[in-house]
């Protein structure tokens, strides 16, 4: 079930009403939310709910086991069991075919051709997200930073909470579990904000991301070799904004839905295209993943504590794995590697020259130039992310850099949406706050008028229930 489907439009009000009616019965409320979350997941493919439940059971048992034993050896053994179980499932479903293909290619290159044995299992939706979420729980318990919960219902809801189940944000147990302990109190202002955020997310998804995809990105990436360099440049910008508004739209709906239900989820985006460096970009883009990678991968590798070269190596390694997390293809690995290399190079540059690109006391022109350069680096890397296959990547950049005339498939809507998408990113926060205040001050009928108009616009602009890009990861 996607957030932009009619199915969700019926499902969500029913669940919300039920959850608030049961606010005085914590157990029943959790049971309802758990049931709703599994229904949400099973509406995509009921068979894979078993994987979700299996992963939940494994980490629940492992965490309790770790808390009960003082033996470091046993704790480590349990921790390894959780790691192998979760990552093993992830490997089988997400990476096995890629691995088999890669081995076969290497073997063929060595003159010993092998037939790659594939499986035809579907990639379970959201597996990368919930695997990282449960792993963070186990790691926190293993490190002694978190007391495991004995309440299975609570833990199962933490893993499967439907607003963030299939595409994040990746929530930490320390952030979510205490919210289940608190007595829910209906906060009308929070619900209003949540509802507004859901509509904002739908606007980003339907009116910006999907339109950019239909009017510009999809036709260009279908045949980049035939397009003019100008069109390819536009499509590069277009995809950068498409993936941003698609994913941040999803995150807004997730945050809004959770807020209406009385939960707070961490934000996932903070105007990433205003970043002045790649380092800054990763503080603003997919924040829940970048902080996960920082806390559970980068820091254990040594983080920035060693030499500049070691830090650069750590960054490159983390980003390489971050790329692989997105998908089982060399294009994603290349995307991660590019980010890793650029981050590592940035760190070395800082070490050698002492220049800090993130300093806010730079002149406006200098900061603006950094924003522009960073955006172009990010957008260029996203071409690799979108194209994935090497021949397509080569054709895209080959044609883009040839400065040749060719087909211009950019429709008038593409230009307008690109303009709106860019302006929305640059709107001062104070203006947005004022708009939010103005919306909240409206009486119910006027708010309903705004939201109904938005719904009708979505119906007019939307060309169906286009899937969210991050569902595939």
């Amino acid at each position: 079930m996607a957030f932009n489907s009619l199915h969700f439009l019926l499902f969500f009000p029913l669940v919300t009403t039920g959850a608030w009616l049961l606010r005085r019965h914590a157990g029943l409320r959790m049971l309802l939310l758990l049931f709703a979350s599994y229904y949400f997941y099973m509406s995509w493919n009921w068979k894979y709910a078993g994987l979700l439940l299996g992963s939940t059971l494994l980490d629940y048992v492992v965490a309790l086991g770790m808390a009960r034993t003082a033996s470091i050896f046993r704790r480590r053994l349990l921790f390894i069991a959780s790691l192998s179980g979760n990552l093993g499932v992830l490997f089988v479903f997400k990476y096995y075919n890629f691995f088999a293909d890669s081995v076969a290619q290497v073997a063929a290159g060595l003159g010993a051709p092998l037939a790659a044995a594939h499986h035809s299992l579907l990639l379970p939706v959201g597996i990368s997200f919930y695997t990282f979420q449960t792993l963070s729980y186990t790691i926190d318990v293993y490190r002694g930073q978190l007391q495991p919960t004995r309440n299975f219902l609570k833990f199962a809801l933490f893993v499967s909470f439907f607003p963030q189940l299939v595409a994040g944000p990746i929530v930490r147990a320390g952030h979510f579990l205490p919210q289940l302990d608190a007595r829910p109190r209906f906060d009308d202002r929070a619900a209003e904000l949540g509802l507004g955020r859901i509509f904002l997310g739908l606007f980003k998804k339907i009116c910006l991301a999907d339109l950019l995809g239909t009017a510009l990105v999809d036709p260009v990436f279908a045949n980049p070799g035939a397009c003019s360099s100008w069109t390819l440049l536009l499509a590069m910008y277009g995809y950068a904004f498409q993936i941003y508004y698609d994913f941040s739209g999803y995150s807004d709906i997730a945050l809004g839905a959770a807020k209406v239900l009385g939960f707070e989820l961490p934000i996932n985006f903070d105007r990433p295209y205003l970043a002045t460096s790649l380092r800054d970009f990763w503080r603003r883009w997919h924040i829940s993943l970048s902080t996960w990678l920082r806390d559970y991968l980068y820091m254990p590798l040594g983080g920035g504590r060693g030499s500049a070269l070691r830090t650069a190596r750590n960054l490159a390694l983390v980003m390489l794995l971050g790329g692989l997390w997105h998908g089982a293809a060399w294009g994603f690995v290349l995307w991660g590697a590019l980010h890793g290399l650029l981050l590592g190079a940035g760190r070395l540059f800082h070490h050698v020259t002492g220049i800090d690109a993130d300093r806010n006391d730079q002149p406006l022109v200098s900061r603006l130039a950094r924003v522009v350069v960073t955006f172009h680096l990010v957008a260029g890397c996203f071409v690799v992310f979108r194209a994935v296959e090497w021949p397509l990547i080569r054709a895209y950049f080959g044609t883009l850099l040839s400065f040749q005339p060719g087909l211009s498939v950019a429709t008038p809507a593409a230009y307008w949406v690109l303009l709106v998408a860019t302006l929305y990113e640059w709107v001062p926060r104070a203006w947005l706050r004022e708009m939010r205040r103005g919306y909240l001050a409206l009486p119910s009928p006027a708010q309903a008028g705004v939201l109904t108009t938005a719904l009708l616009v979505f119906a007019a602009v939307g060309s169906g229930e286009a899937p969210f890009i991050y569902f595939q990861f």
């Binding site: 119910s444 708010q447 309903a448 008028g449 060309s463 169906g464």
Partner: protein
């Protein structure tokens, strides 16, 4: 004793209630949601009232169709709609228009019209305004020797294959003297769906989206009114055209129908399909004129749609040259302007009048003079 009264007992109770009420504000979010639902229902209701006022029913499909095992659906005998802008009735046999007797009155030439919504006269103001009845009126006025009647056996949504079965199973008993075929639009839509439907993510048959699209007039109105905008400004340039195979299949189906008629001794009038769009000398409002066609065939760009109608019409022109078949080139007879159409393809009363006249002329000058062996029971020479 009065001094012993506790202070609490003398507090004014109503004031306490007011304080409690103020402390617990009304849940605005729920009110907003209720208002939203009310607004949406009101809008849907308003569109339905408008449809009811104009057409006599908010859901004409439910009123005029009945399920049919072989043909999928047929017109429901006795159904009728009466609105301010449209009146239509289905006779006891399940055909649009006035009653006809199964046994043909002596001296009567009977026309049978086959087709989809364009022949059915979806946008005509009355049964009499539909081109089939207009043609009969022209013929009756022009011919003192014989009288004419007609069966409008067209059913909105029918393809040529369904019309063939309609002819063989339901028209044949009425012994028509001339069969008029005006049927292209639904076949083009079906052709496009078959060729490109998978590319545009058609909603699953049992999905909620499909249900909403089929049941909400508001959604349909929005979809229809944004189709031209979507095709012109959003859809990328797609050099898409319908494949030749589908056009050949259509031509073969028409030929099969023609041969059936020839075997029965019925002359056939093949009509090309007129349309509001496609005039190369007036390129400015082409998207607006083609809006409803673009909404129904969203997988084709305007150029592809024009190309499809041109090729289907050309196929009919080629078939029109054979014995027993008269071509009525409505594509050239009806100007490609909004004046003659209620939307991209459906004629308004003015368009029906032009087509009625053209068909009547073709019946007199072509079909009845065609050199095909006529069955002996046809009272061509009067009683």
């Amino acid at each position: 004793m009065s001094m012993a009264t506790s202070p609490a007992s003398v507090l004014p109770r109503p004031a306490a209630r007011v304080t409690a009420h103020v402390a617990r504000p009304r849940p605005k979010t729920w009110a907003t949601l209720v208002w939203m639902a009310a607004l949406l229902l009101t809008l849907e209701g308003a569109v339905r009232v408008r449809a009811w006022y104009r057409h006599g029913s908010a859901d004409p499909v439910a009123r005029i169709y009945q399920a049919d095992e072989r043909l999928g659906r047929r017109l429901a005998p006795g159904a009728a709609l009466a609105g301010a802008e449209r009146r239509l009735s289905i006779n006891q046999w399940g055909f649009r228009g006035a009653e006809v007797t199964r046994a043909k009155p002596a001296g009567t030439i009977r026309l049978a019209a086959l087709g989809d919504s364009t022949t059915f006269g979806m946008e005509a103001s009355s049964d009499e305004a539909v081109w089939v009845q207009q043609a009969v009126a022209h013929l009756n006025r022009a011919d003192d020797q014989r009288s004419y009647d007609a069966i409008n056996a067209a059913v909105p949504g029918y393809t040529i294959a369904q019309s063939y079965h309609q002819l063989a199973e339901h028209i044949a008993p009425f012994a028509p003297d001339v069969v008029v075929v005006y049927q292209v639009g639904t076949n083009i839509a079906a052709h496009g769906r078959r060729q490109f439907g998978a590319d545009v993510g058609q909603p699953a048959r049992r999905s909620l989206r499909r249900l909403a699209e089929e049941s909400s007039l508001l959604l349909n109105l929005i979809r229809l009114n944004t189709a031209a905008w979507r095709a012109r400004y959003v859809a990328p340039p797609r050099p898409r055209r319908l494949d030749d195979e589908g056009v050949l299949q259509y031509a073969a189906a028409v030929q099969r129908l023609v041969e059936y008629c020839r075997a029965q001794g019925w002359p056939v009038l093949l009509c090309t399909c007129p349309r509001a769009f496609g005039d190369p000398t007036a390129p400015t409002n082409q998207y607006t004129l083609a809006a409803s066609a673009l909404a129904n065939v969203p997988w084709l760009p305007l150029e592809g749609l024009n190309d499809a109608y041109d090729r289907y019409n050309d196929a009919l022109r080629r078939l029109g040259g054979q014995p027993g078949v008269t071509l009525v080139d409505l594509d050239r007879a009806v100007p490609k302007r909004g004046d003659y159409f209620a939307d991209a393809l459906h004629l308004n009363d003015a368009g029906h009048a032009v087509v009625g006249e053209a068909v009547a002329r073709a019946v007199r000058e072509g079909a009845l003079a065609a050199a095909v062996p006529m069955p002996t029971h046809l009272p061509l020479d009067g009683p």
